[in-house]
């Protein structure tokens, strides 16, 4: 009797698990599948296999195939926005890593007035709706008189990415044995040497993880970037959004799959680094 009930539960649980995974991954699977769909008009109606859409990304409308050249972006344009996205993500994530790590260290190792308040304040950018943050940044830049462009995107990203790095590095620091730093000082090392030789190596997985997280978040941010990008510079997500205005064309699915692939690689590196023993 009891056994039967247990079996029923276990079956239900398994079913639920499968459903959950399907729910999670079906859309991703579909977009991968349909990026190979030969149907040039309706992305969701399968008419045959093709690699044309990938080809157009790298070669543009010069590819022989059944697609509408008017709806195809040139490789130059695509790589231009990809470059912008990478420049933004690399510089913003780097700056955020330095700021976030320094802040995490200060809060973990020093006592000062208003520490709790400051800690809470640091988490705010992650909780505030993107749209509010976007508008706020826009008002700030316009008010201060900074011309919107690459620079404002980077500064804007640094503001909220620092919070993410802070959280990741703080978690790592919390798990670190503080007597290691005392031991270093005890053996004659000054504060800088101790940081370089003991603290940094100990928290490195957190720092790298924080950087990668910031990098990925910067790379796929749409809402905030939308407000502070100005007219001159466009990141990849903004570019895709603009393409979507003209309808869901097959080239977009191919581009999306490439982004997905890239994100997976970065995420895997992050996971591998994180699981490495300190």
């Amino acid at each position: 009797m009891k056994n039967k009930r247990q079996m029923l539960w276990s079956a239900l649980l398994k079913g639920y698990g499968v459903l959950f995974l399907v729910f999670l991954y079906l859309p991703l699977g579909l977009i991968v599948a349909f990026s190979f769909n030969a149907n040039p008009i309706n992305v969701a109606e399968w008419t045959g296999f093709t690699l044309d859409w990938y080809a157009t990304i790298f070669q543009g409308a010069s590819v022989e195939g059944n697609f509408d050249a008017a709806f195809t972006e040139s490789p130059e344009r695509i790589f231009d926005v990809i470059r912008t996205s990478f420049v933004v993500a690399l510089s913003a994530a780097s700056a955020a890593t330095v700021i976030g790590t320094a802040t995490a260290l200060a809060l973990a190792r020093h006592k000062f007035f208003g520490k709790r308040f400051y800690q809470a304040l640091l988490l705010l950018p992650m909780l505030v709706p993107d749209i509010v943050l976007g508008i706020a940044l826009l008002i700030f830049f316009v008010g201060v008189g900074i011309e919107l462009g690459l620079m404002t995107i980077i500064i804007g990203h640094v503001t909220f990415l620092s919070s993410y790095v802070f959280v990741v590095v703080s978690a790592r620091l919390a798990g670190m044995d503080t007597t290691l730093e005392q031991a270093s000082a005890d053996l004659g090392a000054g504060p800088l040497t101790t940081f370089r030789r003991v603290t940094l190596p100990q928290i490195m997985p957190g720092v790298v993880g924080g950087f990668l997280l910031a990098f990925i978040i910067s790379l796929d941010d749409v809402v905030i970037t939308y407000f502070i990008a100005g007219v001159g510079s466009q990141t990849l997500p903004l570019f895709i959004l603009a393409m979507m205005r003209r309808g869901l064309r097959p080239q977009i699915t191919a581009l999306a799959v490439l982004i997905l692939l890239f994100s997976l690689i970065v995420a895997s590196i992050g996971l591998i680094l994180r699981n490495r023993k300190p």
């Binding site: 000082a185 005890d186 090392a189 030789r197 190596p201 023993k277």
Partner: protein
């Protein structure tokens, strides 16, 4: 005249809940050159705090720390000529054993050749040559402890601070390391300040013992003095086992003191520090008591204690006899089992317990 002086050290911690803890209260210790000094006390008495204040990880709230007649209070930890062996060893997990041992020298700018040579020697000294390439996680607890020791000793500090370095080891390993540490201290001629809550360890290893309780220094003396002449009730109870009797000094002749307890029991002790009418406690160690044979009279004018054996525990060298001696009290007698009369000792037997007045140590009653 100590070469490292702790003068009226005071330390108060503020807890997050807003209350404060007096971790050190007016502690004065003159640490002598080349001595093995042990800080002994129960958990939470302030041993680690005192060590941290010496190393510089905590600031004193009062008092001073003097090395070679210069105050250390404004000297940061990395500039103090002391090294610490931490309770959890605090070996750098991302470095090899050799890198750990060489770290202090590297920071000090010692050349690579010199570093390698001295690190090798230090590892030799602690019996770990050949382990230099390993990571700390690939070592046993005892080996890690020795790496931590080598890492500190290699810098030839003026004082080596050790915070319960043996507490994580099993009994056998601990006893081996006690002897090794003691030998090492003789060999290198460095002052050791050693923290432990284990009184046997303290008695076995130290030149002098500083007994701490609740942040206060209770007694600072050689192991034999601490054991034979405990300064107060706390020390008498914490170091070794004591039979204690509270009473009033009834008469004095020479250095022979007779005291009378509240129950009318008369006991003898040797002391010149008290006057008739003083409130005192008599400390008698179990090994100072013997069960008298039927025809024995014991010390002439020392009244024997009448009792009834409740329980006997044979521990090899002696027989531990628990005897009811009236008024709800139990005396613990450590009786050499080869001694006369041993065969009479059995639960329920009426016995007389004897001792010599010379072994009776008097301590003043703590004033309320």
């Amino acid at each position: 005249m100590g070469f490292l002086q702790i003068l009226s050290a005071r330390k108060v911690y503020q807890t997050p809940e807003g209350s404060s803890v007096q971790a050190l209260d007016d502690v004065t210790i003159n640490i002598r050159n080349n001595e093995f000094l042990t800080l002994l006390g129960p958990s939470g008495c302030g041993k680690t705090t005192l060590l941290k204040c010496i190393a510089g990880f905590e600031d004193l709230d009062g008092g001073d720390l003097i090395l070679d007649s210069k105050s250390l209070r404004s000297v940061p930890p990395h500039k103090r000529p002391f090294n610490t062996v931490f309770q959890n060893y605090a070996l750098f997990p991302h470095m090899t054993v050799e890198q750990n041992v060489a770290y202090g020298m590297e920071v000090a700018g010692v050349s690579k050749v010199e570093r390698d040579r001295r690190a090798g020697e230090a590892l030799d000294l602690v019996g770990l040559s050949g382990f230099g390439g390993r990571r700390p996680t690939q070592l046993s607890g005892g080996q890690q402890q020795r790496v931590a020791l080598a890492r500190s000793l290699v810098l030839k500090p003026k004082v080596l601070l050790l915070d319960e370095p043996l507490s994580a080891l099993d009994r056998k390993m601990r006893e081996t390391m006690q002897i090794e540490l003691k030998n090492l201290q003789h060999a290198v001629g460095i002052t050791f300040v050693f923290v432990t809550h284990d009184q046997e360890e303290a008695l076995a290893m130290s030149d002098r013992i500083a007994v701490l309780a609740q942040g206060r220094l209770q007694q600072l003396d050689t192991p034999t003095e601490v054991y034979d002449k405990p300064a107060n009730e706390f020390v008498a109870n914490f170091v070794g086992t004591s039979n204690m009797f509270a009473g009033t000094v009834a008469s004095i002749s020479g250095d022979r003191v007779i005291l009378e307890t509240g129950n009318g029991r008369r006991l003898a002790a040797t002391s010149t520090a008290f006057r008739v009418g003083d409130q005192v406690r008599l400390v008698l160690r179990p090994e100072h008591l013997t069960i008298l044979a039927r025809d024995e009279t014991g010390d002439a004018d020392v009244p024997a204690i009448e009792g009834r054996v409740r329980e006997t525990v044979f521990v090899g060298s002696t027989m531990q006899v628990h005897a009811d001696i009236g008024h709800g009290r139990t005396a613990l007698v450590s009786h050499p089992h080869t001694r006369r009369g041993s065969s009479d000792i059995a639960p329920g037997a009426e016995v007389r317990i004897g001792y010599s007045a010379a072994s009776g140590h008097l301590i003043p009653m703590r004033s309320a």
